[in-house]
Structure formats: C-alpha cells, structure tokens
C-alpha cells in the first residue's frame, strides 16, 4: 500500500520469543565440552538447533504457538530430553515475575553471544556467532527489548503470565496421563516409549482422516438449512464432536477466538498455522478450493473463518479477495462486487505474496488488476458487454502504466470472452476506440479480430515468459483452430481457390505446445515456491514420519522430514499448472470427438479422469464424466449409460444447470426418441431449452442443441413441415453466429427430414452441402454419416441407383465401423441390406449371407439400443429373406421379433402416459 497509513510491522518481543531465547540459551550454553550438559549426543544437539532455526525463521507471524503447542513439538524433537527441556523452559518462564527479572534475563542472553572477534574462539566452546541466524535472532530480541518502554515491559510480563497459565491448565491433563503411563511401566524401554508415541500418532492420523472425510462430506452435501444453523449458532457448530476432545482444557480467555480460528483453519487437527506466509498460503489454498468446488463450497462457514481472520489481522486485505471469490462462486453479485472493490481499494493491487514489486518507480498502485478482475467477474455473471467495457479500460490503463503482464492477461481474457459469447452480439461493442489493435482497423470481422487478439496475446505472453499464460493461449488457439477455417468460408475472387479447411495438424500442434508446459515446470520448479500448499506442508511433514525419525536417527534419508527444509521443499507441480495440462487433455478429447475418433476421445477423457481428477475443478471433472457416459450410451446402449450416470450423479452435486443434469436430459431424450416416447421426448427437450436461456445468459451451444433435438422429435412424430421449419430457422441462427460445426449437422438433419417426407430430390443438395461442410472442418464421423444419408437418398430414388448407394456405403464403412456408434452402424447395415435386396440383379438364394449377416448385426445393435423402429425394420427384412429362402421356422422367429418391436412401439403411447403421470 503506497499510502502512508500503516505502521511498519515491527519486530515485537512476545512470550513465544522469550521461550525461544530460553531454548537458544540451552542450545548454546557456554560450556567447555563439545556437547553441552543436557545433550547426550551431537545429533541430539544438532536436532534442537535445526528446530530452533526453523522456528526463528517463522517468527514474523500473525499467530504464535502457545506454550503447550511448543512443548508438544519439543517433545517430538527432544526425544529423551523432552522432560528436561520442558521443565527447564516452564520453570525459567515462571521465574520471570518482575520487570527486573526480564532485564536480567536479557542481560544473560547477551552473554551467550560471542564478541565481534569471535573468529578466534576456542575450538570446543560453543559460542553463538552474532551473525548466524540464531545469533541474529537473539540480537533482534535483545534490541527489541531494549527499545521497549516500561509499559511495554509490563505488557510483556502480563503476557508471559497468561502464556504460562494457559499452558499449565492444558498441559496438566497430558502430564497426568503421562505419569500414569510411566507409573505402570517404570522400567519401560525407550523403544517402547517410541512405539507408544507411534501409536498416539497413528491414532491422530486416523482421526485426521476421519475428520477430513467428515468435512468433505459436509462440503458436498451441505444444504441450506444446515448453513443457516451455522450462521445462527455461531462457531460452535463446526466444531464436530471430535475436536472437542482436541480442545479439552483450553481456557476460554481472551485467546479463545484465536483458538477457534486455529481449529477452523485446518481440518487436519494437529497442525496449526502460524506465519504470515502460512496464512497467505492458507488463503491461496482456499481460493483454489473455492474455484475447484464451485458452489458446493460452503459459503457461511468460510465466511465466518474469514471474519475471524480479519479481526485478527485487519491489515491483511487478502481476506476481502477471498470473500469476493466466495460470493462469486455462490452467485451473489452484489456482495462480490462490493468485496472486489473493497479489496482493491485497500490493497491497490499490490498485496499478496504473488506480488512482484515493480521494477520501475511506479508506486501508484496497480489498479489495472482490479479492472481485470472486475471484467472477469462480469463475464462470470454473464454480462459480456460490461465485461468488454471494463476489459477495454484495463487494456488502456495497463498500457498507461506499462504493465505488460497485466496487459497480456487482459488480452487473453478478452479473447476468451470473445470466443465464449456469440459472435453477432459483439460487433457493436468492439467499436473504434477499442483495443491495442487499432492498426488492424475495424473492418475485420469479429472472428478475425479474435484471431488477431489471440496471436497478439500469445506473442506477448511468450515475450514476457508467462508460461501458464502461454499454455492457456495455446489452448484457446487450438479451440479457435478447431472450429474456424482461417479464411471466410464463402469468398470469391482470386483467393477462392485457396484451401478452405480447418487444419487438424495445427490444432494438435497447439495442444502439444500447451502440454510442454509441464516439462518446463519440472525443470525449474523453484520459481513456483510461492504456491500456498508448500508453506503449510512443512509442519505436516514435521509430524508424519515421527516413528521412523527416532528409529533411524542418523540416516540421511531423514532429511525429508526435517523442519529445517521449510523453504526448500522439493517442489511438485503447482495445482494451476496441473489444471492447465489437464484441460489440454480435455481439449484433445473434444477435438477427437469433433473429428470423429471415438476411441481417441475416450482415451483422452480417461486420462483426464484418472490423472487430473485431483487438480481439476468440479465442473471440468463433471464434463469428463459426461463425455465418458455419452460414449457409453452410444457404444453400449442405455442400460450401462444410466448405470454410469448414477455413479456420476453421486459424485457431483446435481445443481441447476450442471453438466450432469444436461447429460441426464440428453440421455432421456435419446432413449425416449428410440423407444418412441414422443411426448416425453418433447418434454425433456423443452426442459433443455429452458436450461439454455437461464437468467444469467443464453448458452448458445445448449440452445442450438435444444432446437436440434426439437426438430428431431418433430421428425420422429412425422410432422415433416414443422420439423423442416425448425431446422431451417436453426440453420439461419447457426449461420448468423458462425456456428459452422453445428451447421453441418443441421444440414444433415434437413436432408433426413426431406428423405423421410419422401422428397429425396430435395434432400440431396442438403446432404451434399453438409458433406462439404464436414470436409472443410475435417468432421470425419459426421461425414461418414452424411455419406450414409446420401446413400439412403440415392436408394430411395429408385432401384437403378443402388450401385451408387452401395459404393457410397462401402466407402463410408471403415469410418462407421471403426468409430461410429450402435445406431449409425445399425443404420448402415440395414441400408446395405436394402441395397442388395432392391438390386434386381441380386438373388437372395445365391448368396443369403451377404444380406443376412448385416441384418443380424443390425438387429443385435439396435436391440441393445432399444431402437424399436429400426429394429423392427431389420427383423422385417430378415423375415422376408428367410421367406424367400424357404426357412419357415426362422422366418416365424424373425416375424415374432418384428411383432414384438412393433407392439412395443405402439404400446409406447400407454407406457408414456404412465411415465408422464409419474
């Protein structure tokens, strides 16, 4: 904060620091032997030293550990010495009863420091080098004490009193238990004691796990009433029964609030957070968690924690940002807006430990970040126009302040915004004063602007070495390449001869470039030590390997658990990077889906679901599940798909407009269509349409899908003219918003409608148009199905076209059999059989298997799908063939199956009424 309002955070002397001083004194007591009195071995001595180092490093805290916490840590470190250490510590502390004692204490401290010429000290004497870490700490403490006013000394004295009193009241219970233990086994071996400790820790670990599970459960299934009760009954609610045990004996004094805070902080129980760094880390972790779990993150409980945190550290403005995030993901617009503004008003964008101080002398705050966040917020709430306005301002301000990083991010945000919202709406907004790209001019279409923006932002990110941004840009570039040809689709003149196709290679290239990020992070992990997880990790490590620590004291592998390694944690890959890499897999899955390679799409989705489930946000994870379930539905039929859906539903909270809900509707619709439950289909379709235009914004993808399904339902109901009308208007919309991939499938649907209505001639151009779309966008599977439709059209034009039809089908077969679903291959088989049958030159009796084999295949597949209409057709054809062959028994069998399907189709009306009434 550039304003001169804040007091400099001084190094204040506290009871905790006094006890550290006492410990340092023990560590470095001036004696003549190499291993001073209480220690039995050098390693023991060193261990205390390392522990003290870690403690002194984390002395700029918000919350300091209380005496009992310190003692319990000492117990872990000190091993056999712990009795002596704690006794000495407590007695020394309680002997400080008047200000004069403190004066004397700090005078003594001066004694253990070596003189300025300590270089020439005797070999075997332990004297603290004044320039060492511990020495510096001690000197700082002494200095801080000397600077204290008399009132300050009085405060220190009273605080030490409180500090000891609390510890005694909570320690006594433990001591008693210990005494009992040792009373039973006076001659207990040290190993036994360690085992005992092991047991205790195992128990704690179990408890931690249990609690973790409990909190997880809560966070997913917390419903409103519970939240309300949390609000009403204040903090007590989220102290689950187990933590009562943990809090036993904690005195409810003025420190009670901080005790609660500690408890709230981490579900892991035994660990406590202390340093400024750790709080920041905690907040960052929570921010990730909010993003990950979205609205299933508990609103009020976290709000309470934040409130307490704010009370303890009013100058830690990050809290406001977390509040903003919290309300953002709970769709509370006003509170989000309010908190966002508050955060940036206070912090001026230059707070938090991911902040790198600007190199220049720019001390006037970095409010452009505020604009960037505000823009993202508007985007999140579905106000694209406002978002664009704000982001435009962000571009201008960051140019003014020459904040290139922010500019790069803003450009990325804008391009993201442009690619997400429908294109026709932006044209008015991207007005003349817009953008750094004024040189490009405004004559370009929005798509082209987007392309230019993407390129520009990618270049900027690369030159600034913002790896994550580079990767993200690569991904959005891939997305762009996937759905856009680089030239306008219809262009005349000399350029018309150019290749009008999307380029799968460039998509793959972009995806691969994005993927490279992970390897780069492996090489230079040190740049990311600021990730919050690390700063809280070391204390967890302190506890975990306790058992082995004592057993293998001088083993070098122990290094991992050493508290000394606080800052030098072996860095893993930060969560945000994992998320990015994961989303590259998601992109791949989508790309393959569009290009029509089902197995590859499935593999990528599976990789994502197995490898990146931890790092992914809940909506991404849900999306992957959706893809997998859809795959099941297409290739294995509905039974398995619905079973899988059930699992997914349990895994993800089925909130309104989640992926899972949409998937459910899609599956229901398709099954209803196949089974002939048309009313139900229409109802489901309508629901999907409602989801598409929610209050916040219109989801174009969902909207097109809904009306596509509407047209399909109408087609199934044999209302051809209506279906054609719907499909036509849908095509117009797709054309208007440049949804070209969707256009292809709409054209195909139109062709089908015309074919079914008996106008094969009218259908032909549509099928051909769809085919050319598919070609230019490399939509291979769709192309295969368009070819199939084309064959069907030829076939219905008369028996003299069977040759053409047959050759078309045979051309498409490899694709269909390799990647197509049950329905598609069933249809292909039936059409093939029909071609043969209608060919006047073909005689069944000569070569019955040519017809029978595809029909059998088709009937199997269609039965799995419960597609009554087509299945009936297959059996009908089969019966005819058997009739011709004179195999009456088999004919009767086929006829019976035919009848079954027809009856099922006709009964569907009744069943449907039943379903609807339920």
């Amino acid at each position: 904060m550039a304003g001169a309002l804040k007091p400099p955070s001084a190094f204040a002397i506290t009871p905790h620091k006094v006890s550290l001083c006492i410990l340092v004194q023990i560590y470095a007591s001036p004696s003549q032997v190499s291993v001073p009195f209480p220690f039995s071995s050098v390693s023991q001595h060193n261990r205390l030293g390392l522990y003290l180092l870690a403690l002194t490093k984390s002395c700029d805290d918000i919350l300091e550990p209380k005496l009992d916490q310190l003692i319990s840590q000492l117990r872990e470190i000190g091993g056999l010495l712990d009795h002596w250490l704690t006794d000495h510590l407590t007695s020394r502390l309680s002997s400080l009863s008047s200000p004069d004692d403190l004066f004397n204490f700090f005078n003594d401290m001066r004694g253990i420091l070596g003189g300025p010429d300590s270089g020439v000290m005797e070999d075997d004497q332990v004297i603290l080098d004044p320039n060492s870490n511990l020495g510096m700490f001690l000197r700082r403490c002494i200095l801080a004490f000397n600077l204290l006013t008399f009132e300050g000394i009085c405060h220190l004295l009273t605080n030490i009193g409180i500090y000891c009193k609390e510890a005694i009241s909570s320690c006594s219970s433990y001591e008693l238990r210990r005494l009992d233990d040792s009373g039973n086994d006076l001659e207990s071996l040290s190993e036994y004691e360690n085992m005992d400790l092991n047991l205790v820790f195992k128990k704690i670990n179990e408890e931690m796990e249990a609690r973790k599970r409990a909190t997880e459960r809560v966070s997913f299934h917390l419903h409103l009433p519970k939240e309300l009760s949390t609000l009403v009954e204040d903090i007590e609610v989220f102290a689950d029964p187990k933590s009562e045990h943990y809090d036993k004996g904690r005195e409810s004094s003025s420190y009670a609030s901080s005790g609660d805070l500690l408890r709230d902080f981490d579900p892991n129980g035994g660990v406590f957070l202390r340093t400024n760094w750790q709080i920041q880390g905690y907040l960052t972790e929570q921010a990730d968690a909010i993003e990950k779990h979205g609205s299933s993150f508990t609103l009020n409980a976290f709000e309470l924690t934040l409130r307490q945190l704010q009370k303890l550290a009013p100058e830690l403005h990050r809290v406001h940002f977390l509040r903003y995030l919290n309300s953002l993901y709970h769709d509370d617009y006003f509170s989000a807006l309010e908190n966002l503004h508050r955060y940036f008003d206070y912090s001026a964008g230059i707070e938090g430990f991911d902040f790198v101080p600007p190199t220049g002398c720019n001390s006037f705050g970095r409010y452009e970040i505020a604009l960037l966040c505000l823009g993202m917020m508007h985007f999140h709430f579905g106000h694209p126009k406002q978002a664009l306005e704000v982001l435009t301002e962000a571009v201008r301000v960051s140019q003014q302040h020459s904040n290139d990083t922010c500019l790069a991010y803003t450009l990325a945000a804008i391009s993201n915004l442009l690619s997400e919202i429908g294109f026709s709406t932006t044209s008015g907004i991207l007005g003349s004063p817009f953008s750094p790209m004024t040189s490009v001019g405004t004559s370009l279409s929005v798509q082209q602007q987007l392309f230019v923006l993407l390129k520009g932002s990618l270049k900027r990110a690369e030159s600034l070495k913002l790896k994550q941004l580079v990767a993200a840009n690569h991904l959005s570039m891939a997305k762009f390449d996937l759905t856009h040809v680089q030239r306008p689709l219809l262009s005349f003149g000399p350029k018309a001869s150019m290749k009008l196709r999307t380029c799968p290679i460039s998509v793959c290239k972009e995806l691969r470039l994005g993927y490279h990020l992970i390897s780069e992070f492996c090489c230079e992990g040190s740049t990311m030590t600021t990730d919050g997880a690390f700063s809280t990790a070391w204390l967890k490590n302190l506890q975990k390997p306790m058992g082995s620590l004592v057993l293998s004291q001088d083993n070098s592998s122990r290094n991992n658990s050493n508290p000394f390694l606080f800052c030098a944690q072996p860095s893993s890959i930060p969560g945000s990077v994992l998320q990015l890499v994961g989303s590259s897999y998601l992109h791949r899955a989508t790309a393959w889906e569009i290009y029509g390679s089902a197995p590859l799409a499935r593999v990528n989705a599976l990789v994502y679901a197995t490898c990146f489930a931890d790092a992914s946000s809940s909506s991404d994870a849900a999306l992957v599940h959706v893809k997998l379930v859809q795959h099941l539905a297409v290739f294995k039929g509905y039974k398995e798909a619905f079973a899988a859906l059930k699992i997914a539903e349990e895994k993800f909270l089925c909130v309104s407009k989640s992926w899972i809900l949409i998937l459910k509707l899609q599956l229901l619709h398709e099954r209803a269509l196949h089974r002939g439950h048309l009313k139900l289909a229409q109802q489901v379709c309508d629901e999907l349409g409602v989801l598409a235009s929610s209050v916040t914004a219109v989801d174009m993808d969902l909207k097109t899908e809904a009306s596509l399904r509407h047209a399909r339902t109408l087609l199934a109901a044999k209302q051809f003219s209506q279906a054609a009308a719907v499909a036509h208007s849908l095509f117009c919309m797709c054309y208007k918003f440049n949804l070209q991939v969707e256009s292809a499938s709409v054209l195909l649907l139109l062709a089908e409608i015309h074919m079914k209505s008996g106008n094969a001639v009218v259908g032909l151009p549509y099928a051909l148009a769809s085919l050319s779309y598919c070609q230019s966008f490399n939509l291979d599977l769709l192309r295969a199905s368009a070819t199939l439709t084309l064959a069907e059209l030829w076939l219905s034009l008369g028996s003299n076209h069977t040759k053409t039809a047959l050759s078309l089908i045979h051309g498409a077969f490899p694709m269909i059999l390799g990647h197509g679903g049950l329905e598609l291959s069933g249809r292909a088989y039936i059409t093939e059989a029909k071609c043969y049958l209608s060919d006047p030159n073909f005689s069944v009796s000569d070569n019955p298997e040519v017809v029978l084999d595809p029909l059998r295949q088709a009937s199997d597949e269609l039965q799995a799908l419960e597609y009554h209409e087509l299945a009936a057709e297959a059996f009908y054809l089969m019966a005819i063939v058997f009739d011709k062959l004179g195999q009456l028994e088999k004919r009767e069998e086929a006829a019976a199956s035919f009848k079954n399907h027809i009856v099922a189709l006709e009964n569907s009306q009744n069943v449907e009424d039943l379903l609807l009434s339920v």
């Binding site: 304003g3 001169a4 007091p7 006013t149 550290a313 705050g365 409010y367």
Partner: protein, 577 residues
C-alpha cells in the same frame, strides 16, 4: 407537552441525580436544556434575560414559520415520577468514593465502595470500574500498536461487569442507571439486541439520562429498528427522535422536530447546533453560518460541532473567519478531534496539504472512527495527487459508515483521476444512491460518462437532467445538456435547454461566453426553422456583444431580411394558409 415549569423542575432534579452519580455529560446536557427554557420574564431581572434576548432578533430572521409552543394534540405524555433517593446510611463512603471519582481515581473509588450494596453505590462502583477499564484500554491502544494493525485491546472489566449486572438485572435489583450501564457493557460486547432492550427499559423508567438515549441512538441504524422500539412518550423522546432522524439522513423530519422543540427550549444551544447541522446537510450554508455565529456569540468556548462550522467557512472560502475559529478552538482545547479537524480545514483552504493531512491524522489518532476526518484526509490526498492513499482513506470512511456519500464520491473522483472512468462509475452510482439531491454528484457522474474513454453520451444526458432538477447552483448541467443535445443532433432539445440556460443566466445576471453561445445557437436554430421573429430577437441581442459573433449576427439578420422581402408571398402562404 408538559409545561415549561414542570420541564424545568424535572430537569433540575435530574441534574442533581445525574451529577450525584457522576454521569457528567448527561447532566451537562440536561443543564444546557434547563437554561435553554425561556425564563419567565416576571421572575427575573432584565440582567438575567438580557443575554437571552440579545440574539433572538437574528434567530427570528430565519424562523420562516413561527412555531407555536403547543404540541400536536392527541399525544399524551406520560409524566414519569421523579425517583426517590434510596440511601443515606453509608453516605460517608459514597461521598469519599465520589470525590475520588471526581479526581479521576476510578479504581480507588470502586475500592471504597466494595462492600456497599445500595443501588446507587453499586452503580457508581460498576461505573467507576467501567471507566477504569476504558481508560486502561485507551492507554493500551497507544502502547500496543502491533504489526498488521492488530488492535485487540478490550476493556478488561467488561466480563466481570456483565456477569454482575446481569445477575442484578435478573433479580430485579437494578435501577435505570444500572440498566444504562448494563446496556453500555452489552453494546461493547457486541450483544446489540439485548443492549437495545435494556437501554429502552432504562430510558422508559428514567428518561432524563441523555447518555442512555445517545447509546440507544447509536444502536438504531435503520428506520425499521427505530420503529421496533417500544418507547413511552416523554418530551425527551422528541430529542431522541430528532437526533435519530438526523443520523438516518432524514434531515427534514429532524428539522421539524427540532423546530418544534425550540418552542419550549428557545435558548438551547444544543438545539441550535443541531438545527445548524441539519441545515448543513441540506446545503443551506448561509443560514448555517448565521446560526453558528450566533452560537459562538453566546457560547464562545464551544468546541462541539464547530467542525461543521469550519466546513461551512471552508466552502465559502472565508479565510480569516476560519483562521479565527481555529485559533479560538486551539486556545480552548487543543486535543479535541474537532479542533484538529478545523485546523486541517484551514490548512487545506490555504493549499498547504501536507500540514492539513498532519492535522487530520492527529484527529484520527484521537478518534479513529472520526468519519469526516477520513473523508477530508482523502480530499487532501487527492489534492496531493497521492491517489492510492486517498483511496485508502476514503475506503476507511466508507467502511465506518457506508452511507457517507462524500467518501463514495471521493473514491469515484480518485479513480477517474487515474483514468479509470468505468471503474469510477461504480462509486459515483453509490454516491448518488445515498444522496440523490446533490447536483454536484450527478454532474460528476455525467462527466465521467462523457469522458473520451467511455463516451456514453445518452447516459451523461440522463445524469445532467437529474442534476438540473436538483438545484444546480453552478449552472453547469443546463449548459452541458444543451451542448450534448446539439452534438447528438437533437436541435429541438438543444434549443430548449439553451433557452432555459439563457433565462437562468439572465436571472442571475451572469456574463460570459455561454450567453453568446446560447444566443448564437438560438438565432441560427430559429432561422433554420424559419421562425424569423424569434431569430431576429436573438440576433439583435447578439449585436450587443463584440467579437466575430456580432458580424455573424449581422449577416444572419441581413439574410433573413432578404429572405422575407424576396419571397413575401410564399411566406404568407406558408404561415397563413
């Protein structure tokens, strides 16, 4: 309302009782009101009343409608029986304790009363303990300025006091004063609902304790809360309501209440000051200045509310008066937040912003919730071009009281200065939401919309319209409206606003380029409309001015004459079909 005489008697008893319990500020307040009641001229010598009479002429000047002292009928005021004193037995200890208390030796006073059980003694003991705790708290706050601005100092007596008072309250062993203290403790502990209840009980059984009323007032943050209070009718309630209304920014209602009260308490300085503050909020600066001058004449050593006076002087740019005021308050009491604020204002007016900031910071050191000091300091930082600091200061003001429209306005201004007009709009919106009658806020917002980055002229026009509707003293809005309409190609509207602007400038006798511009536009506009007579009027007026416009006007006139003379028949046809 009870008669003046009974008011007087009630107050006299109350003052005795209040000061006996060491509730000094309440007793000060009561005494001020007692003297504020108009004396019966028959009983007093002219020398007594002279001081009251002297100023009444000025007062009457601004009394627009003479208010009769009879209150609206139908309101029955309960007469609360004056409390009987309960103890005489341990009076000696009480006397000792009270003298200790008077010497500010609170703990000693409490210690003397440790075994006393009378209600009065218990109250004084608890009150002394409370004050001792408060004093220690204040001291500690200075002593411990921890890192990260942590100030978790609390009054250490609160817990034990709450325990004791709640037992007393349960056993019904508590008098209204004890209830007041209980309410105070509860409020400090954050238990606002119970505090409100207890305070209501206290003021209902003993209405003359103004301190209890003001605590209650600070707990009434919304109108709904106010309406939910179950208060019995007493004339003290009127004071309370007036003050609450003012705090809730219902200035007109508050003003009516105060003017009603002035019927009985004609010479109350307190009421006078409150009226001044209400009028200040309504931006009636002239009257406020007169009232404060009057007030200072009667009560020259007053520091309370003088910061409002200094604000008025600042707005009116009265250098010497402001310096005089600053000098006077600093001689009276240097270490009052108001004094520091006044000096800060003075330096700000002189353009010495660093010094001004220093004094505002001193005021904030004395009272860190002093709202206007935060806002004013923000203004200073804006002047010093230190926008982040300004933003911080304003934000603190807004967090103390989210209804402070000045601070919202300041935030908007700061962001606009940094070239972030879209971001600033949020703050301007907030500010006009809380103060929709202030034209300056609307104009600021309009200018923000007009800025070249946003260029949202339609919205700007809407804002200017609002500004023009709420008494835009600087007459910016009309001119801008006319100009904007002209730029947007709405000649009719532009002509309408130019005309209005012209009328206004004529009424206020203003001169300047705006008049020429308006005349010029109107003349050409009417000429284009073929309304030659009007056009001629404006052209001839233009002839009074020098400069190129004059020549243009001549040309226009000439052109019109030619047009009229060459096609008279057509014109006749045109106009009189």
């Amino acid at each position: 309302m009870s008669s003046k005489e009974s008011c007087r008697n009630e107050l006299r008893t109350a003052i005795r009782q209040l000061s006996d319990r060491c509730l000094y500020s309440a007793s000060k307040w009561a005494a001020e009101q007692l003297v504020g009641i108009e004396q019966d001229p028959a009983k007093f010598t002219p020398s007594n009343t002279r001081f009251q009479r002297g100023s009444s002429s000025i007062r009457r000047r601004f009394r627009t409608n003479e208010i009769t002292s009879t209150p609206p009928t139908g309101v029955a005021y309960v007469s609360t029986p004056v409390m009987e004193e309960d103890e005489v037995i341990h009076g000696d200890f009480y006397l000792l304790a009270k003298s200790y208390f008077d010497c500010r030796e609170y703990r000693r006073a409490a210690h003397v009363l440790r075994d006393q059980t009378g209600k009065k003694s218990v109250f004084l003991r608890c009150y002394a303990l409370y004050l001792a705790g408060e004093k220690r708290k204040e001291e500690e706050m200075i002593e411990l300025e921890g890192p990260l601005g942590k100030s978790d100092t609390v009054n250490r007596e609160l817990v034990s006091l709450e325990r004791e008072l709640s037992t007393l309250c349960k056993n019904n062993m508590i008098d209204p004063f004890g209830l007041y203290l209980y309410g105070l403790v509860l409020k400090e502990k954050g238990n606002e609902n119970l505090a409100r209840k207890v305070l209501v009980e206290s003021v209902n059984s003993y209405p003359w304790n103004w301190s209890a009323w003001s605590e209650l007032q600070s707990l009434c943050t919304t109108v709904d809360l106010l309406n939910s209070l179950n208060l019995s009718n007493h004339w003290m309630k009127e004071f309370f309501l007036a003050s609450v209304y003012q705090e809730l920014r219902m200035h007109n209602e508050s003003l009516v209440k105060y003017e009603n009260l002035q019927g009985n308490f004609t010479f109350s300085n307190y009421i006078q000051a409150q009226i001044a503050k209400a009028r200040y909020s309504l931006r009636e600066f002239e009257q406020v200045e007169v009232i404060f001058e009057d007030l200072l004449r009667n009560d020259p050593y007053r520091v309370e509310d003088m910061d409002t006076y200094s604000n008025v002087l600042y707005t009116k740019e009265c250098f010497s008066a402001l310096s005089y005021l600053a000098h006077r308050v600093i001689m009276t009491d240097k270490y009052r937040p108001e004094s520091c604020c006044i000096i800060g204002n003075y330096y700000s007016l002189k353009g010495q912003h660093e010094k001004s900031v220093m004094y505002f910071r001193r005021a904030l050191k004395l009272n860190k919730n002093y709202l206007s000091a935060w806002t004013l300091m923000g203004h200073e930082y804006v002047e010093m071009k230190n926008t982040p600091a300004a933003v911080d200061a304003y934000r603190r003001a807004v967090d103390i009281n989210p209804r402070d429209y000045r601070a919202w306005y300041g935030l908007g201004q700061a962001y606009e200065m940094m070239g972030m007009p879209h971001y600033a709009l949020h703050y301007f919106r907030k500010s006009v939401f809380f103060q929709p009658i202030d034209s300056r806020l609307w104009i600021a917002m309009a200018q923000c919309y007009e800025s070249e980055q946003l260029h949202m002229l339609e919205e700007a026009i809407k804002c200017y319209k609002r500004a023009a509707n709420c008494n835009d003293t600087e007459a910016i809005a009309l001119h801008r409206l006319a100009k904007l309409h002209r730029e947007l190609g709405h000649p009719e509207e532009a002509a309408f606003y130019y005309k209005k602007d012209l009328e206004r400038m004529e009424a206020e006798d203003r001169e300047g380029p705006n008049i020429v511009e308006a005349l010029m536009f109107l003349a050409t506009h009417y000429k284009a409309q073929k309304r030659f007579e009007e056009a001629e009027v404006y052209c001839t007026r233009l002839l009074d001015y020098t400069g190129p416009e004059r020549e243009t006007a001549k040309n226009l006139l000439r052109g019109m004459r030619i047009a009229q003379s060459s096609f008279p028949s057509m014109d006749v046809e045109h106009f009189h079909p």
